[in-house]
């Protein structure tokens, strides 16, 4: 269909405004990360007058970024793996069986997603402190274990939802054929259904990893200096005297690039999964 002039103008305006809105912060992030400290503390410059990669070296020594990184990688990977495993089983059940309590299960799980995080933080804080006290050693409070258990449930609702959607798209005949051959439910799931759902599983894994990687609220109270993750650790580049803005930007880049790349590379699968619930 022919587009009238008004729509062409609308398109140019919208695309220009949004591109600037998205790109300007990106530009600041990139250019400031290669400026010397003096330049980011002085008047703002669009183009860096001195380019240096020193901030990318300094970020590792100004604060223990390596430790934060390691903590984040450990916590996010383990909670990702566990969350995907739990979601595969639950998603398969939701997709293939009509069992009593199915809709209660899916509704409850999805509705926990909308509750305020602070509502869970206070009781979990109290529970973790007191469970550790009863155990006589620190298992949950401000430990990686505590954080892993918590994070794993954050991505679970969406993970189950997304995977159930993917499984729905895999013909049931595959399951039945395997069953006729004498395969058990578990074998059918692992050998037949799961390989066919690989893109969905990868998308769910990335989604789950990203959720924990960006989490701030629980990380702020449920970590100690020893177990601190990136989301809180990155704030330590600002001290009372000084904010190392170039290093803040360099560290932000280092932390963002892997997840943004993963997201963009897998966007087809992720978008399909994220929107499936709302559109269908």
């Amino acid at each position: 269909m022919r587009e009238p002039l008004s729509f062409k103008v609308f398109r140019v305006v919208i695309l220009t405004v949004l591109t600037l809105f998205v790109l300007v912060p990106m530009w600041v992030l990139f250019t400031s990360s290669v400026k010397p400290l003096g330049d980011v503390q002085g008047k703002f410059e669009w183009w860096p007058s001195h380019v240096t990669f020193q901030p990318f070296k300094d970020i590792w020594s100004t604060v223990p970024l390596g430790k934060y990184f390691l903590n984040s990688v450990i916590v996010c990977s383990i909670s990702m793996v566990l969350s995907v495993i739990v979601a595969i089983f639950a998603g398969y059940a939701v997709s293939r069986w009509t069992f009593r309590g199915r809709s209660v299960f899916t509704t409850t799980i999805l509705s926990t997603q909308m509750f305020p995080g602070i509502l869970f933080l206070l009781p979990l804080f109290l529970l973790f402190v007191n469970i550790d006290k009863a155990l006589g050693f620190t298992l949950l409070y401000q430990t990686r274990v505590g954080l892993i258990v918590t994070y794993l449930t954050f991505s679970l609702p969406f993970a189950i939802w997304m995977l159930a959607g993917y499984f729905d798209g895999i013909p049931r005949e595959l399951d039945e054929a395997a069953r006729v051959d004498g395969a058990s439910t578990l074998t059918t799931l692992l050998r037949v259904v799961l390989p066919a759902a690989r893109p969905g599983v990868i998308a769910v894994a990335v989604y789950s990893f990203m959720t924990s990687w960006g989490e701030v609220l629980f990380a702020s109270q449920m970590t100690s200096p020893k177990t601190q993750t990136l989301s809180i650790g990155l704030q330590s580049y600002s001290t009372q005297i000084n904010v190392y803005w170039n290093q803040v930007m360099a560290a932000s880049l280092v932390v963002s690039v892997p997840v943004v790349l993963a997201f963009l590379l897998l966007q087809r699968y992720l978008v399909a999964g994220l929107t499936a619930g709302a559109v269908k």
């Binding site: 269909m1 009238p4 008004s6 729509f7 609308f10 398109r11 919208i14 695309l15 949004l18 591109t19 809105f21 998205v22 790109l23 300007v24 912060p25 990106m26 600041v28 992030l29 980011v40 008047k43 703002f44 739990v86 089983f89 639950a90 059940a93 293939r96 069986w97 069992f99 409850t108 909308m114 305020p116 602070i118 509502l119 869970f120 206070l122 009781p123 979990l124 804080f125 109290l126 529970l127 258990v149 794993l152 449930t153 679970l156 439910t185 990203m210 960006g214 701030v216 609220l217 702020s220 989301s231 990155l234 803005w245 932390v255 963009l264 966007q267 978008v271 399909a272 709302a278 559109v279």
Partner: protein, 312 residues
């Protein structure tokens, strides 16, 4: 729940099939119970006891306080109740603005990028970046841009001759607007994603029929696209509403546990009362009130939406 050997017995085959889904969802249920349902129950209990610092590691001895935390939060003539009410109002305004702007930008971008043209893939990918970045890195970048002396925003405003370039963006009433812009920046791509997916679900022949009838592109958007997007819009707006109303990241990364009064979003308000003043009982009471409010709004929203769609 343990896997009993009985299901393997002859005739137990059907029984086993019936129980299979329950075994499969058991891990998810146990985790949900432990991390969501149980804490919620404990949270409600906490709101009735005086759980201050002295009792956190000693919760069984905390004194029962009945409804007094609720009374404190809802007594709007007292300074404490008043600041809670103020925080609630700030959050409402914040939510309306952020959801409204995010919807508008997302809708516009989806309408524009739904139609094929050169460079479409590039824009589509670019627009996802704010959503894909870890929340706090985006907010920290904005925080740098909003610095008074070395930030981009004041620099641009000054070179355009709009201000003297010495405004404070992160304190006083400006802090609120800074927060709104950052939250819109972060959430509009989500609206865009959902609406674009919604647009792709509208069959082409509906449009073809309309253009034979002589309807122009704006008329088509008004009379075909918008009504067809209704279900997506309803779900998406609800999700954006809940996320924005519960937003903790934007104020916390920008301002820490005690934001300026203008930016005192409710989650941070409760966080401050709980972890700065160490009054978990009062914090829980406010959390329960927040949840009650969200449940009522969501319930009313779904009720109105369901009735309307039934009439349609």
């Amino acid at each position: 729940m343990t896997s009993r050997p009985t299901v393997k017995r002859a005739g137990g085959r059907g029984n086993a099939r019936r129980l299979t889904p329950y075994f499969l969802i058991a891990p998810a249920i146990i985790l949900e119970l432990l991390i969501h349902i149980l804490p919620m129950i404990v949270g409600v209990w906490m709101s009735f006891v005086g759980l201050t610092q002295a009792f956190i590691a000693n919760w069984s001895t905390a004194p029962w306080k009945g409804l007094s935390s609720y009374k404190l939060a809802l007594d709007f003539s007292s300074p404490i109740g008043n600041s809670f009410l103020h925080s609630f109002e700030v959050t409402c305004l914040y939510t309306v603005l952020v959801v409204g702007c995010a919807w508008f930008l997302g809708m516009s971008a989806a309408l524009v990028l739904h139609r094929n043209f050169r460079g479409r893939g590039f824009f589509r990918t670019l627009f996802l970046v704010p959503y894909a970045m870890p929340i706090y890195t985006g907010i920290m970048t904005w925080s740098f841009m909003l610095q008074r002396d070395n930030g981009l925003v004041n620099h641009v405003l000054k070179s355009l001759g709009l201000t003297n370039g010495d405004s404070f963006w992160l304190i006083g009433s400006n802090a609120f607007w800074s927060m709104v812009i950052i939250a819109v920046w972060r959430s509009w791509p989500f609206a865009f994603l959902m609406l674009l997916a919604g647009l792709q679900n509208i069959p082409d022949d509906v449009y073809d029929a309309a253009s034979v009838d002589g309807a122009g592109i704006w008329k088509q958007i008004r009379y075909i696209t918008m009504p067809a997007l209704r279900p997506v819009n309803l779900v998406m707006v609800l999700m954006l509403f809940l996320w924005t109303f519960n937003d903790f990241n934007t104020p916390f990364v920008l301002f820490g546990a005690q934001p300026p009064k203008s930016a005192d979003i409710i989650s941070v308000h409760i966080y401050g009362a709980s972890f700065v003043n160490w009054d978990f009982g009062f914090g829980s009471a406010m959390s329960v009130l927040l949840l009650a409010f969200l449940l009522v709004v969501t319930g009313a929203y779904l009720l109105i939406f369901n009735r309307r769609s039934r009439r349609a």
